[in-house]
C-alpha cells in the first residue's frame, strides 16, 4: 500500500471516530469558525495539515485558512488576557507572522494546531502585555530528513479531542477557573480545579513521540 493510500485510509477511519456534520470537518468552508467556536466535540485537526503546507511549500491559501480560523480566536484570547482591542489586533497579527516563519517547528505528533498556536499566543502575551522575556526550552523537531508517523499524528489528535471534551464537560465553575489560570494570571492553587482532566494518556503519547524523535535524531 502506498503512503498516500495509507493516509487516506486513516483519514477515513478518523472521520468514523468522530461523526459530526461535514461542515465541521471542512476547513475550506467559510464561516467554519462560527460552527466550531462552541461546538463539541472538537473536529479533527485538519489545521495541522495546513500548517505543514505552510512549512513545506509556503502555501498562502493554507495560511489564509489558518488566519481566518485562528487569528480571531487569538485576538479573543488576548482581549481576555487584558489587552485592549488595538493591542490584541496587533499581537494577533504578530502571532500569525510567527506561525508563518516557524511552521517548520510544528510537530503534529506532540501538539495539535490549536496547542501550538496557543504557545505562540501565550509567549506574545508575556512579551507584549507583561513586558517580560519568555525563556523557552531548546527546540526539538523532526527536521527535513524525517517524517513523523501518521499513526502518531492521529493518536495525538484523538487525545486532544478527548481532552477538549473533558474541559467542555467540566462544571462551569471549574472550567472558569482553568480558563482564568490560562488566560489571566490567577493564583495557581486554584488550578487544582483541573484535577481529573485526562492528561495521563496525552502525556504518554507525547513522551512516546519524543522518544521516537530522539531515536531519529541519533
Amino acid at each position: 500500500m502506498s503512503l498516500d493510500e495509507q493516509t487516506k485510509d486513516r483519514d477515513t477511519s478518523l472521520l468514523e471516530v468522530e461523526p459530526a456534520t461535514p461542515a465541521a470537518h471542512d476547513p475550506y468552508l467559510k464561516g467554519v469558525s462560527d460552527l466550531t467556536a462552541t461546538s463539541s466535540p472538537t473536529p479533527p485537526d485538519v489545521w495541522a495539515r495546513d500548517i505543514q503546507s505552510v512549512a513545506t511549500e509556503k502555501n498562502v491559501a493554507a495560511f489564509e485558512r489558518l488566519f481566518s480560523h485562528f487569528a480571531p480566536k487569538v485576538k479573543g484570547f488576548l482581549i481576555k488576557s487584558g489587552a485592549d482591542a488595538a493591542l490584541a489586533e496587533e499581537c494577533a497579527q504578530e502571532v500569525m507572522v510567527t506561525l508563518w516563519h516557524k511552521a517548520h517547528m510544528f510537530d503534529p505528533t506532540r501538539a495539535s494546531a490549536g496547542t501550538w498556536i496557543f504557545t505562540i499566543a501565550r509567549n506574545k502575551k508575556i512579551d507584549a502585555i507583561r513586558k517580560q522575556r519568555r525563556p523557552e526550552p531548546e527546540d526539538v523537531g523532526w527536521g527535513p530528513e524525517h517524517e513523523p508517523d501518521q499513526e502518531d499524528v492521529i493518536g495525538l489528535q484523538q487525545e486532544t479531542m478527548k481532552l477538549g471534551q473533558a474541559i467542555s464537560n467540566l462544571p462551569e465553575k471549574q472550567r472558569n477557573l482553568v480558563e482564568r489560570a490560562y488566560f489571566g494570571d490567577m493564583s495557581h492553587s486554584e488550578i487544582a480545579a483541573a484535577t481529573g482532566l485526562p492528561l495521563g494518556t496525552i502525556k504518554s503519547r507525547i513522551r512516546l513521540a519524543l522518544d521516537r524523535l530522539r531515536h531519529a535524531m541519533k
Binding site: F118, I191, A192
Partner: protein, 216 residues
C-alpha cells in the same frame, strides 16, 4: 545538551504555572533549562500546553481588522525568516540559559562570595533572582535559602545532602522550610543555577506554588 538519567523533576504545579505563563522570569529560565534536558518534564509540560490549546480552540472569535490578512502578508514579505542562530556545537549550557549567560563557562564573570564559592547573577525581572553558583568539590552549597520557592538545577558536577544525590539535569525544589546542608560532590566543581524568590514576594508565590501535587 546531552540527555542523562534525571531523577529529580519539576512538579506539576510548576510546569502548569510555566505553561500558562504565570511564572516569574527567573524561575522560567530554570524550568526551560531543565525541560531542555528532561523529556519526562517536557512531555508533562506539553500536555499542560494542550489544555491551553483546547481553551484557545473554544475561544469565541473576535473579528480582526478588515485589512489584517493583507497587513500580515506585508509583514511576512518585509521581514523574511530570521537566519538560524549559529550555536556552538557543544555549548556548556542549554539554550534558554545561554541566552542569558553565553554559551561558554569560561565567559562567565564570577563574583567570589566566600569559601571558594562564586556566583553570577542573571539579568531578569526582579520578582525572583536567578544566579549561577560555582561550588568547589566537597564544599557546602551556600545557604541561599530564605523563605519561599527555591529551585536548584545542576549543570555540572553534583551535590548531595543527607538523603539525596543531585547530578547533571536534576532539579531540587525547596520551599525554605526544609533545613538541609547540601555539599558539592568530590571530584569536580559543582555548577548550578539557583533561583529564589524576592523576599517580599514570598507569601504570594508560596501560596501559589507550594501546594500538594496535582495528580494527573
Amino acid at each position: 545538551m546531552a540527555m542523562s538519567e534525571i531523577k529529580h523533576h519539576l512538579s506539576d504545579d510548576i510546569l502548569m504555572a510555566y505553561a500558562s505563563g504565570n511564572l516569574p522570569e527567573a524561575f522560567s529560565v530554570a524550568v526551560a533549562a531543565h525541560v531542555s534536558m528532561c523529556d519526562t518534564c517536557r512531555a508533562t509540560l506539553e500536555s499542560f500546553d494542550a489544555i491551553g490549546g483546547s481553551l484557545l480552540t473554544e475561544t469565541a472569535p473576535v473579528e480582526t481588522g478588515a485589512d489584517a490578512f493583507q497587513s500580515v502578508m506585508d509583514k511576512i514579505r518585509q521581514a523574511p525568516s530570521e537566519a538560524p542562530v549559529l550555536r556552538n556545537a557543544t555549548p556548556d549550557f542549554p539554550t534558554p540559559l545561554s541566552d542569558y549567560v553565553g554559551e561558554s563557562l569560561d565567559e562567565i564573570k564570577w563574583q567570589p562570595i566566600g569559601m571558594g564559592v562564586k556566583q553570577s547573577i542573571l539579568h531578569t525581572q526582579d520578582d525572583a533572582t536567578a544566579r549561577l553558583l560555582y561550588i568547589p568539590p566537597g564544599t557546602a552549597v551556600p545557604n541561599h535559602s530564605h523563605e519561599g520557592l527555591e529551585m536548584t538545577l545542576v549543570l555540572q558536577g553534583a551535590f548531595a545532602d543527607e538523603t539525596e544525590y543531585f547530578s547533571v539535569g536534576d532539579i531540587e525544589l525547596a520551599d525554605g522550610s526544609t533545613v538541609h546542608t547540601p555539599i558539592a560532590a568530590d571530584g569536580q566543581p559543582c555548577i548550578c543555577l539557583a533561583v529564589t524568590e524576592a523576599p517580599l514576594k514570598f507569601k504570594k508565590m508560596f501560596h501559589r506554588l507550594v501546594q500538594p501535587l496535582m495528580r494527573i
